[in-house]
């Protein structure tokens, strides 16, 4: 996709988007509501027309082709199986349109249903199977026509958490097995980071960063990416040379060309560790635990430093050693940090 733009009246949904997906790659588009990720998918599918820009698939320009001729499979956020057809008939629908013989159609439908472990449900109607099963059938239906590209528009958002996690892994397994180029739209960071080869974080119709999940998380390119992906502490600091001084500690910069002066340092909660403050001191990194949020294997501990609060993410076992009200000393791991020129919000949690 090159220079892709789309407006809805005065609202700019996409603003000159450039995105290349390599063959066999799974790229996740992540961002808040209204950032343009679904619009990108719909333009690629041909369900809407771009105001400007081109879309090329396998070297062929498909910008002006209707959706029915783009050879792309799509799975929607809403349940999209045809209610009047059985599971088998749904999966075979695209093949029927392509005038594939009945025997071949049936063979391919069974093959796809085996891929998603739903052969036993082949003769049921959509209303007779669960939401997760419906989305798996939708995936089988999209793959049955052997498309060049697979498009997934938040396919897991209508499902409960446990089913979502299982289906997410299944989608990734199937995508790797089939080797199909895939564009996956989601607002769930965990989904995007867990299964994609690259993550594209979008805001206001533009790509803020397109990189592997580890880079997006550990080396965010912009303040928006740092704050949108995962949690972030916004700490006042001062840049001097190639480091930023935060609460008396020098931390290396991601961007060493940052001009000197006051900034806001973006520090991940997992970069912060706690130790009991036995000295009774009142240093810049000494404070009182005010809250502890249990998240399962990890816990998020909020510490009041007097003039601000800071979050630390610890294992639950470590967190229980610092109950609410205890005095602690914080240590910030010297990972490279991103800085922002924006002023920090007074209390962050």
């Amino acid at each position: 996709m090159e220079g892709l733009s789309r407006r809805y009246g005065a609202v700019v949904a996409l603003d000159g988007l450039d995105l290349t997906v390599q063959p066999g790659e799974l790229v996740a588009l992540l961002g808040p509501s209204g950032c343009g990720k679904t619009t990108t998918l719909r333009l690629l599918a041909g369900l809407e027309d771009a105001d400007a820009g081109t879309i090329t698939v396998g070297g062929a320009d498909v910008t002006r082709l209707p959706a029915s001729r783009r050879d792309m499979g799509m799975v929607f956020q809403a349940y999209s199986l045809f209610p009047h057809m059985t599971v088998r008939q749904n999966v075979a629908f695209g093949l029927r349109l392509r005038r594939v013989s009945a025997a071949q159609r049936d063979r391919r439908a069974v093959e796809m249903l085996e891929l998603v472990d739903l052969v036993s449900q082949a003769d049921r109607y959509p209303h007779q199977i669960s939401g997760g099963q419906q989305q798996r059938v939708a995936l089988a239906r999209a793959l049955a026509i052997e498309p060049q590209v697979l498009l997934l528009d938040e396919p897991l958002s209508a499902l409960d958490a446990k089913v979502r996690a299982q289906l997410r892994d299944q989608i990734r397994r199937i995508q790797l097995e089939v080797g199909i180029t895939t564009l996956f739209v989601t607002h769930d960071q965990e989904e995007a980071l867990a299964i994609s080869d690259r993550v594209g974080v979008m805001q206001n119709g533009r790509l803020e960063q397109l990189a592997p999940p580890t880079d997006v998380y550990s080396r965010p390119a912009t303040a928006f990416v740092a704050e949108f992906v995962g949690l972030t502490n916004r700490l006042p600091g001062t840049v001097s040379g190639s480091a930023v001084t935060v609460r008396g500690r020098d931390l290396p910069l991601v961007d060493v060309t940052t001009p000197p002066g006051p900034v806001t340092a973006l520090v991940r909660p997992e970069a912060v560790t706690l130790a009991p403050d036995s000295s009774g001191g009142s240093g810049p990194l000494t404070g009182t635990v005010i809250a502890s949020t249990f998240l399962g294997a990890t816990s998020r501990v909020t510490v009041d430093l007097g003039d601000m609060t800071i979050m630390a993410q610890l294992s639950t076992a470590d967190a229980t050693e610092h109950p609410a009200g205890s005095r602690v000393t914080l240590t910030i791991r010297p990972d490279p940090v991103l800085v922002s020129a924006d002023a920090p919000v007074e209390s962050e949690a």
Partner: protein, 286 residues
């Protein structure tokens, strides 16, 4: 900012489970209420029909029984013959239903998929016949039908007027069917699989509106079966007009009641048959 802790906060007590006896009692009261309402409304509709039946079986002396009024219907020779009027009415019912559906189903699906901004104006047009009394419609249609009569076309030409009359009812039935399905997602899913608009409309959307289409068909047919004013005023003979002629051409007052009940029962049975056939097909699809 607020942490998820249990300090200082006691969880709310869960509400106590209702005892089974109370639920069963509530269900019994609800069922009793349903039966009472059903019986009252049933009597409201059934009693006049029973009275109609009794009067149609009244003999020449008060309090006696006779089937003479019914025999009169069967022996009526016309012109035109009763069978011919029944035939014309059935043909009109079929024609009206088919034309109404052919006009409305693709149009409404297309509007829903592609030109939603037209939907309000279209709805207004379809509902407009509700505001026009049949006799006023006749005044407007009379010059057209005079021209049609010049070409000696049959009473089947009434179907155009009947389609206009059926529009509001068929529109509402079909609109309810369209609202019950996710037209946008289904059409986009079909298009992404390679379906063109014709396939989307007739192989994806329309099959999922089967109940609504059946309802629209029943309403259109019922209207055609029971229509009197337009046919009578434009000097055509359908079943209702024929029944009226029978009752006017005999001194036996009971014939008035027997013809009314006969027309009503005829329409009712026909609609039940169509409805039953439609539901059987639907069950087979499921």
């Amino acid at each position: 900012m607020a942490a998820l802790t249990s300090v200082g906060e006691a969880p709310l007590a869960a509400p106590a489970k209702r005892p089974r006896g109370m639920q069963a009692g509530r269900r019994r009261r609800l069922n009793a209420f349903r039966y009472v309402v059903f019986t009252l409304f049933g009597l409201f509709f059934l009693l006049p029909l029973l009275a109609l039946l009794r009067f149609s079986l009244e003999g020449s002396t008060l309090g006696t029984w006779s089937i003479a009024a019914w025999k009169q219907i069967a022996s009526y020779q016309g012109p035109p013959p009763l069978l011919s009027a029944v035939e014309i009415t059935l043909e009109l019912a079929v024609l009206t239903s088919v034309v109404t559906l052919v006009l409305l189903v693709p149009t409404m699906i297309w509007i829903r998929l592609r030109v939603q901004w037209v939907s309000r104006a279209f709805e207004f047009l379809c509902l407009l016949p509700l505001t026009i009394p049949a006799i006023v419609l006749v005044v407007g249609l009379a010059p057209i039908y005079n021209r049609i009569r010049h070409y000696e076309l049959s009473a089947l030409m009434l179907f155009w007027a009947y389609v206009i009359l059926a529009l509001p009812y068929a529109y509402r039935a079909l609109a309810a069917g369209l609202n019950a399905i996710d037209v946008k997602t289904l059409s986009e899913a079909a298009r992404s699989l390679g379906a063109r608009w014709f396939t989307v409309m007739f192989r994806v959307i329309a099959p999922n509106m089967w109940q609504a289409i059946l309802n629209a068909l029943l309403l259109s047919a019922a209207l055609a079966l029971g229509e009197f004013t337009i046919a009578y005023t434009l000097l055509y003979t359908n079943l209702q007009v024929e029944m009226y002629s029978i009752s006017r051409n005999t001194p036996n007052a009971s014939v008035l009641f027997s013809t009314s009940l006969a027309a009503l029962v005829f329409a009712f049975v026909l609609l039940m048959v169509i409805s039953y056939a439609g539901r059987r097909r639907r069950r087979g699809m499921r």
